[in-house]
């Protein structure tokens, strides 16, 4: 017991909490695009993490082989994933809007394997490392915070604010909120719903590219990387109430703190067990998500 209280009040626990917060920023960014697309179009993109994977490859090749500065390569990654998002809607989802949800899920699930296969054929199964390390920030002799995570957190914060202002203040943002509440009636407002869906898909894709830029700094790229953070992204979205961006944002931090705190007291893997256990328990108590709207 004494050991436990000592652990609780140690500087390393503070470091853990801060790291959880920083990891939450990345998870929040991951869930943002998926939630936006679901909230507006009402279709879950099972292949979302694979679009992030393709974004990571884009950034890797632009930077390592193309020799472009990292920031330019990242912008290229965002551009490519925005186009991928646009194409996903234009070529697949757009034809399935009236189809049963299971067909939509199967189609985006099929895209997942398509993107994976494509990456395997095009890039091989080798793990590729960007070879960039931003180092860490020493807060004190004992506490180090990774610059990559700090950067991710800051960018996630900025994106949340920009997206919020866009949705709250602009005509297009208002239309994006409105279309998720009554799709059919949008025509009477003069909204071209097809165009609005394509725009939303492109924005969602672009957010995947932004997430890719931050993940490629921390992880090796390989065709199956999507599988390692896809499920967690879905769980964050579901726990926050699918389509509820604020809920997803909060859920990201609950998840990340559970992972890091679990990892602090035991092995890192136990952190995931704790987080997923909490997810399952939460689904029993509130199947519609912790922050689902009352409707």
């Amino acid at each position: 017991m004494a050991e436990f209280t000592e652990a609780l009040f140690s500087v390393f626990f503070v470091e853990t909490l801060i790291n959880g917060l920083l990891l939450g920023g990345v998870l929040a960014l991951l869930s943002l695009g998926l939630n936006l697309i679901f909230g507006v179009i009402d279709v879950v993109w099972i292949c979302y993490a694979e679009i992030i994977m393709l974004g990571m490859y884009t950034i890797f090749y632009l930077h390592v082989d193309g020799g472009l500065p990292l920031i330019v390569a990242a912008a290229g990654g965002v551009g490519v994933t925005a186009v991928l998002g646009w194409l996903t809607h234009r070529l697949v989802i757009g034809y399935l809007l009236q189809a049963p949800p299971i067909n939509q899920l199967l189609a985006t699930g099929g895209l997942l394997f398509f993107f994976q296969g494509l990456a395997m054929v095009a890039f091989g199964i080798e793990f590729r490392n960007l070879g960039v390390s931003l180092g860490s920030l020493a807060l004190s002799e004992d506490i180090y915070l990774s610059w990559t995570r700090l950067l991710s957190f800051a960018i996630a914060g900025v994106v949340v604010v920009v997206l919020y202002l866009f949705l709250a203040r602009s005509y297009l943002g208002a239309a994006i909120r409105a279309i998720s509440q009554d799709r059919e009636i949008m025509v009477l407002m003069g909204v071209n719903t097809k165009k609005l869906y394509l725009l939303t898909s492109a924005i969602g894709g672009g957010l995947a590219g932004l997430a890719a830029a931050l993940l490629v700094l921390q992880y090796d790229v390989h065709p199956f990387i999507g599988l390692s953070f896809g499920p967690i992204t879905f769980m964050v979205c579901v726990m926050g109430g699918l389509g509820n961006m604020v809920g997803g944002f909060l859920a990201a931090f609950i998840f990340s703190e559970l992972i890091t705190i679990g990892g602090y007291f035991a092995e890192l893997e136990w952190g995931y067990v704790l987080a997923f256990g909490f997810f399952i328990a939460a689904m029993f108590v509130r199947p519609e998500g912790l922050f689902a709207r009352k409707s």
Binding site: Y171, A174, A175, R177, A178, Q181, D182, E184, I185, M186, V187, L188, M189, G190, V191, N192, T193, R293, S295
Partner: protein, 234 residues
Amino acid sequence: MLTLKHVNAGYGDFQALFDVSLEVKAGEAVAVIGPNGAGKTTLMRVISGLIPAMVGEIEMEGVSVLEAQPYEIVGMGIAHVPENRRLFPRMTVEDNLRMGCFLPKFRARFEERKSVVYELFPRMLERRNQMAGTLSGGEQQMCAIGRALMSDPKILIMDEPSAGLAPVIVQQVFELIERIRGEGLTVLIVEQNVRQVLRIVDRAYVLESGSLRVEGTAEELLQSAEIQKAFMGM
């Protein structure tokens, strides 16, 4: 202003309108009355492009409505207050009004139109930051009409504005429509509330089983024994 010529329309294989021809002149208020399931809502929806016409022609000031894309029709000066109001429930009153002038050519006049609507419905000004879903039925109807007025339409088409409202509120809604008429707006309204709607319009058509049966001035129809028997329980 608005002309329908020999319009057939429906959903899939089901045809709800048969050879419907009607005209609304500038400055007029016209009602289409008829029982449930007569095709009144279908008529409204085909005018504003929510469903395509099978055959026929619809013209707004001589321009074909059917050839336009559905989302272009509000830009031609036709604003539709849909059945059951269909507000965006989780958006504020003011955001609902904002959606009413979504088209880029309307946006510059947002503030001006907003003050027109708030002057017409002072209650909406009080509730401007409230979620539309939390308004009372009568207030929701005001908000829905206000949203349609944001685009400064030439013709307002209203689908059952009295549906689902308490009798005293129905009275208020009809008074409001009369005031809107007073501003010189052209109105086409479908209603089941025959007696009240005939008091505020110039002319009316009777729609039955998808076809227009009778046409006349409101005065004539109010006096008609047949109409009284069919719709007013006399």
